[in-house]
Symmetry: C2
Subunit: 163 residues, 2 copies
DNA sequence: GTGGGTGCAAAGTGTTTGCAAGTGT
DNA sequence: ACACTTGCAAACACTTTGCACCCAC
């Protein structure tokens, strides 16, 4: 749990804001502190909930207006698992090439990196005439708990443990 | 262009319908003929357009009600490229493990398969306690045309060439 | 002081669904 | 005939946006 890396990320985002002449409002403070204070993946709605605990005046609109800034800065990664909502990943700055394993039962997400896979991806891209810019790899499967118990406990995957 | 495989897929889908006691209406005919008559990826809206050329009575609701049947049958693959709409891939039956290369400029999609990558995916899943069920790999990059000309011609990627 | 920022609620967008009428088997 | 199907339009879920007021710099 590299707390240092997290505060670095926050620092970088503050610089990003400054460089774009954007202001650090109290609402953005709350949102930023929330984002860079967790390692969990989150949805827009969850970010709203959590941010409101720090500052109840944060509105849904502001969350939705801040999210693009976060992704644009390159510090947060937007993901789409085919569900109805997007999921955001605050660990992007530290591991910009990571992939995801998702449990088909409880939606648990595990991150991993693989240089071997990345090398193959790059090679294949080249062969097909593409210059690779980015990649997304998601593997769906049964997690260890599902195999062992036949079902996952926190099936409804509600990240109530707010940061 | 394995026309044989395509009509096989259509045949399989008809069996799928029968086995589930679902009827072959004229609207479904038009939709099915469209889906199994192209190798292009398509959106729900495009499928509606194309199907209506075969049978103008096809409604949006019917397309949206048929799409889940197609994916459930395993013959069509639903994909989510993070855009606002889902994309459907009718080549799934023939190449169930294929991945996608997408041009960041013109959205051109190229399919590819790699046993090596798949083996690595399976190995990593196992190491992390998962039993792999499925995977999605999307690589984004610049296509050959973009590199050569600096821009892609059919940038707006409108598949007007209806099947 | 002023230009960016905010909350609210209305508008958008892609997809789903209730209902009454229609149709394949 | 009887279920399954359909078209229509209203409903949905998530996200975006217009507007008038507000506040960080």
């Amino acid at each position: 749990m590299p707390a240092q890396a997290k505060s670095d990320a926050k620092e970088k985002f503050l610089q990003f804001l400054e460089q774009k002449n954007l202001r650090l409002t109290t609402q953005r403070q709350a949102i930023i502190d929330t984002v860079f204070g967790t390692e969990q993946h989150f949805t827009a709605e969850e970010l709203l909930d959590w941010s409101r605990r720090r500052d109840p005046t944060v509105s849904r609109a502001t969350v939705y207006r801040t999210l693009p800034l976060l992704t644009e800065s390159g510090l947060v990664h937007e993901m789409d698992f085919g569900k109805d909502h997007k999921v955001y990943d605050p660990n992007y700055a530290e591991h910009p090439h990571h992939n995801h394993l998702i449990c088909s039962d409880c939606s648990k997400i595990v991150e991993f990196e693989s240089e071997k896979i990345e090398a193959l991806e790059s090679e294949i891209s080249r062969k097909l005439g593409f210059s690779m810019k980015s990649q997304r790899l998601q593997i769906t499967g049964g997690c260890e708990e599902l195999k062992r118990l036949g079902a996952c406990r926190n099936k409804e995957n509600s990240p109530l443990s707010a940061p």
